[in-house]
């Protein structure tokens, strides 16, 4: 059964320096508040996993939480670069960042395999591309029936997965709606999981096939209204595209970035 608690406690009881952590949410329901709490608690040496790192990982990388990033597409969607990510990679600021790079198909399959208790995922992909030569996690198996060669990659098994969702009931059963990305898979693949929700309700008002992660498959649930902002929560609030666009300016400059974090994360 999930423990229903506040965000501060959920993070401090789960996240340990040096762990492998996934904050998932594919453009939607990105757990910004939880990422900010990790920054506030000064966690270090994390291996961060995310299909699309987005602004939240730009902030965590810029604040020195990460030693490694495992990802598929590191950009500010529709806007441009993640400048803190690039500064870490290109200039080692504030510290060097190791990367492990995959395609999205690879990561989606690897999360799914992790959730399924499998040590590897197989799929058809990476044909003819350079990533295949650089990433030694990309291997092959041969289908014993068709003799086809298929890509094999290790499943993803984070120490902690954190996601944001619309609501939970009093028991901690969590309902997710809209674009769900790999959130469910990321939670089920993890050793420990935290879900922040917009609200804890009496009745989830779910339909027969609603996407619900049961309380007994979770570790912590914390009510954090607006916890996905500036990303969005379907049914609650929209995406602040203006913020995403402004982030480009804020993040280009180290000092501007630090003072933004100071005001908007550390002093909150």
């Amino acid at each position: 059964m999930a423990k229903i608690t506040d965000l501060k406690e959920a993070i401090s009881e789960s996240v340990i320096d040096g762990q492998t952590i996934a904050l998932e949410g594919f453009t939607h329901l990105i757990p910004f508040a939880a990422g900010h709490e990790i920054i506030r608690q000064g966690k270090l040496d994390l291996t961060l996993i995310r299909m699309t790192p987005d602004i939240i990982y730009d902030q965590m990388i810029g604040m020195g939480c990460a030693k490694k990033l495992i990802f598929g597409w590191a950009g500010n969607p529709g806007v441009g670069s993640l400048h803190r990510f690039r500064d870490a990679l290109e200039n080692g600021w504030p510290k060097p960042l190791e990367i492990e790079e995959h395609s999205h198909a690879a990561m989606a399959n690897a999360f799914d395999a992790g959730a399924s208790g499998l040590p590897l995922a197989i799929f058809q992909g990476y044909k003819g591309v350079d990533l295949e030569k650089l990433n030694d996690k990309i291997k092959y198996i041969t289908c014993p029936f068709s003799e086809q060669k298929l890509v094999a990659i290790p499943s993803i098994r984070p120490d902690v997965t954190i996601i944001h969702a619309q609501k939970s009931d009093q028991k901690g059963n969590v309902l997710i709606e809209g674009i769900t990305g790999v959130q469910k898979e990321a939670v089920l693949a993890a050793t420990c999981s935290i879900v922040t929700v917009e609200e804890i309700v009496e009745d989830l008002e779910a339909t027969a096939n609603s996407i619900i992660i049961p309380s007994w498959a979770l570790n912590f649930v914390a009510e954090v209204p607006h916890g996905a902002y500036p990303s969005y929560a379907y049914g609650y609030y929209g995406r602040d595209n203006k913020f995403y666009t402004n982030w480009d300016k804020i993040s280009r400059d180290r000092e501007k970035f630090k003072s933004w974090v100071d005001i908007n994360i550390l002093k909150k």
């Binding site: 989606a108 591309v129 995406r239 666009t245």
Partner: protein, 260 residues
């Protein structure tokens, strides 16, 4: 001839939109592909099916999304599926006719780079990376590429193959066991290129109205060749321009002027 009242980007987007057929199942990326695909849907191809990587199936946005998973996409979709399903059932399962790709560099055999300029381990410019592109490039029936043309973007050899086009040409796709067509049209702000039969080298097959051969040659990092039967891409009609501008204006308004 009437005077030119459109931008090269508008020509590119409209030329790309025209290539789309009603009823096609398209995997669409953000930016230029999304603009072209939605312009087609809102004009001559109302039954085109648009799919975005975020899991939004058959989506009908009224404005152009900024990200691949904007609320507009999610709310107007037939349904929203998980990303593993999107990649496994729909893309790898072979249901997509047409994939759209962009990129920072493209080479004479239509290989695309969206990963890095310079050396991978010591990048001059680090780009966002692969995302869905490597598997879109091999699983969709065919690929259209939309990309602005310049010597920096059209290079003899890309610094990094993020998505495989026609490799080193000829039957390279077949040799790798890829049975889809790969890039069949490259739509730029100057022209349309297609892989030449047999060699699979990109050649210009249509020059946008008002553009010269010299301009194209000077904006290409290799000695670009022109098809024997070359077409001229018709300038955008007022109807096309009107539709595109209306779409872009209401998108800008919704994205940046809304109170959220």
């Amino acid at each position: 001839m009437t005077k030119i009242n459109h931008t090269p980007d508008e020509m590119m987007t409209i030329a790309a939109a025209r290539e789309l057929k009603d009823g096609q199942i398209c995997f669409v990326g953000i930016g230029l592909p999304s603009a072209a695909a939605n312009l087609a849907r809102l004009s001559h191809a109302p039954e085109i099916v648009l799919i975005y990587e975020s899991g939004t199936l058959d989506t009908k946005p009224d404005i152009l999304p900024l990200s691949i998973g904007d609320p507009e996409l999610s709310e107007s979709a037939l349904t929203n599926e998980s990303v593993p399903e999107m990649f496994r059932f729909w893309l790898q399962g072979g249901h997509i006719n047409l994939g759209f790709l962009g990129g920072a560099q493209i080479d004479r055999f239509a290989n695309i780079n969206s990963t890095v300029i310079g050396n991978y381990s010591e990048p001059k410019v680090r780009l966002p990376g692969a995302g869905g592109a490597p598997e879109i490039a091999t699983h969709c029936g065919e690929i259209f590429v939309i990309i602005r043309q310049s010597k920096r973007s059209f290079v003899e050899k890309v610094d990094f193959i993020t998505s495989f086009g026609h490799g080193e040409g000829k039957n390279h796709r077949k040799r790798l066991g890829i049975d889809t067509k790969g890039p069949t049209k490259i739509i730029t702000d100057l022209c349309i290129m297609e892989p030449e039969p047999d060699s699979f080298e990109l050649i210009v097959t249509s020059i946008h109205s008002g553009v010269s051969r010299e301009e194209i040659s000077q904006s290409t990092g290799w000695e670009i060749r022109f098809a024997n039967n070359i077409n001229t891409t018709k300038a955008p009609s007022n109807i096309e321009l009107g539709a595109l501008r209306a779409l872009q204006n209401r998108s800008l308004e919704a994205t940046f002027l809304s109170k959220n």
